[in-house]
């Protein structure tokens, strides 16, 4: 049977495709069902954010950073604000630091819940999508309570956070953490031992460790390939060194491990949130900085944080005026799409979809 003369044909897994998480186009050369060559084409969401940032004051760049990575908008804001505060040596009040950590971890859980729903939907299961987004709404209510927006929060200001949390935030947050903790067993019960899920994700899209490091892969994808590296632990920013949480790490780097690792990370984030809620000090939440003529001293700075997808960084060059000279945004999905052809060639197209889903790529990070 294998001696058949078969011809290859090229097909577009194009910009408008349910499983390319936005608008990424993969030109596939196929031999029947097997993918022979993948050539990613990106740029369908290139909104020239870096050019816009060069003509905005620092305070105006923050809402733009939300649109840079809109699934975890808090981490995009934080990475920019953290860079500017380090450039200008601004001391952030204690309460603001705690609120930031709570918001960052809540946003990480919300992003992993979207990952859980979207990956399952790509692989064919529709129920997890409804499960995941149902719990995510609890977290979105918390965000809405504090900063009024569901997706692009503009919550973190240079020097602190914009609003203090209302009274009913803490009980609602504890309740949400409890509910998500319980619902985790539903999520795992639905998919972890599901034979179809195992057949579709076990040793599919295996990313070896050296390939992962060579291609600058970071975050859960890197930790699923055996490298125990998390910026919150290895190069702690903000007050992450005060909380004890461990870094889940798995070794055979296939889609199943990447999926499991993100569920473990939800549990770690729940632990951090509880510790942060217990230790939340009183005090003011913003060290007021006049946003219109705020001029940080001239200098360059690459600040990076660990968001739900991987290492997110911002390289800011300020020349002492009110507008940054250059803001380079680094998203981790950029490297994950670059490593995709190395990981998913020679497999059936169904495995390509599973690999692409578990790499958890979203397009604004790639196209900026």
């Amino acid at each position: 049977m294998s001696g058949l003369l078969t011809q290859e044909f090229t097909v577009n897994m194009g910009p408008h495709h349910p499983s390319t998480h936005g608008v990424c186009r993969l030109i596939l050369t196929m031999d029947g069902e097997k993918v022979v060559k993948i050539e990613p084409v990106i740029g369908y969401l290139h909104r020239s954010m870096e050019k816009i940032c060069e003509n905005r004051t620092y305070a105006q760049c923050v809402p733009l950073m939300d649109r840079f990575e809109y699934v975890t908008a808090m981490s995009a804001e934080y990475v920019f604000v953290n860079a500017v505060e380090k450039l200008a040596e601004i001391e952030v009040p204690e309460r603001a630091e705690y609120l930031r950590v709570i918001m960052l971890e809540l946003n990480r859980i919300a992003s992993h819940l979207i990952f859980y729903g979207a990956t399952a939907m790509d692989i064919g299961a529709l129920t997890p999508f409804i499960y995941g987004l149902r719990e995510r709404e609890l977290i979105i209510d918390l965000f809405e309570m504090t900063c009024g927006q569901r997706l692009t929060y503009n919550y973190m200001k240079i020097g602190g956070v914009s609003h203090d949390i209302p009274k009913e935030f803490i009980p609602k947050c504890r309740e949400a953490v409890k509910i998500i903790g319980e619902k985790m067993s539903d999520y795992e019960g639905l998919l972890n031992e599901n034979p179809i899920w195992l057949a579709r994700t076990k040793n599919v899209g295996v990313l070896p460790t050296d390939l992962a490091k060579a291609y600058g892969v970071s975050g859960p994808v890197l930790r699923a390939s055996g490298v125990k590296y998390d910026i919150r632990k290895n190069d702690p920013y903000s007050i992450y060194d005060r909380f004890d949480f461990n870094i889940p790490c798995r070794h055979n780097g296939d889609s199943y491990d990447r999926y499991l690792l993100r569920l473990d990370e939800i549990r770690e984030s729940l632990k951090i949130i509880i510790q942060a809620l217990d230790g939340l000090p009183e005090g003011d939440t913003l060290k007021k900085v006049n946003p219109f003529n705020f001029k940080p001293p001239a200098g360059e700075m690459y600040s990076r944080i660990e968001n739900s997808r991987g290492e997110m960084g911002v390289y800011i060059i300020s020349d002492g005026t009110t507008k940054p000279l250059r803001v380079k945004m680094r998203g981790s999905s950029y490297n994950h799409v670059q490593v995709l052809p190395k990981v998913a060639t020679g497999v059936l197209i169904a495995d390509l979809v599973a690999t692409f889903a578990t790499l958890d790529v979203i397009m604004p990070e790639v196209d900026r």
């Binding site: 049977m1 294998s2 058949l4 003369l5 078969t6 011809q7 290859e8 044909f9 090229t10 097909v11 577009n12 897994m13 194009g14 910009p15 408008h16 495709h17 186009r25 031999d31 029947g32 069902e33």
Partner: protein, 117 residues
Amino acid sequence: MLEYLAVLIFIVAGIGIVLFTFFFARLLRPSNPYPEKTINYECSELPFGSSWVQFNNRFYIFGLIFVIFDVEAVFLFPWAVAFSQLGLYALIEMVVFIVILFYGIYYAWRKGALKWV
């Protein structure tokens, strides 16, 4: 003669309903084909290359073998339902039927049709 009339009406009604639903919708819906609309959809890109290629039809062969044994199961159902009234003769008959088909799958297996390439 009358019974045949009932059968005739039944056939005509069956075919009529199918044709009705099929063509009545064609009369009612707007149809406005123009070139940009009739290119085949390839994720909002212009389709390049042709899909008229020889490809490895491993799925087609599995589908074929499945259909054979699905039909076998269809024949088993009436027999299994009326099994108690039929007695020994029907049992032997069915066993022979199953053995013949069992030989079929053995042939396909030896020929390598079941090998997943």
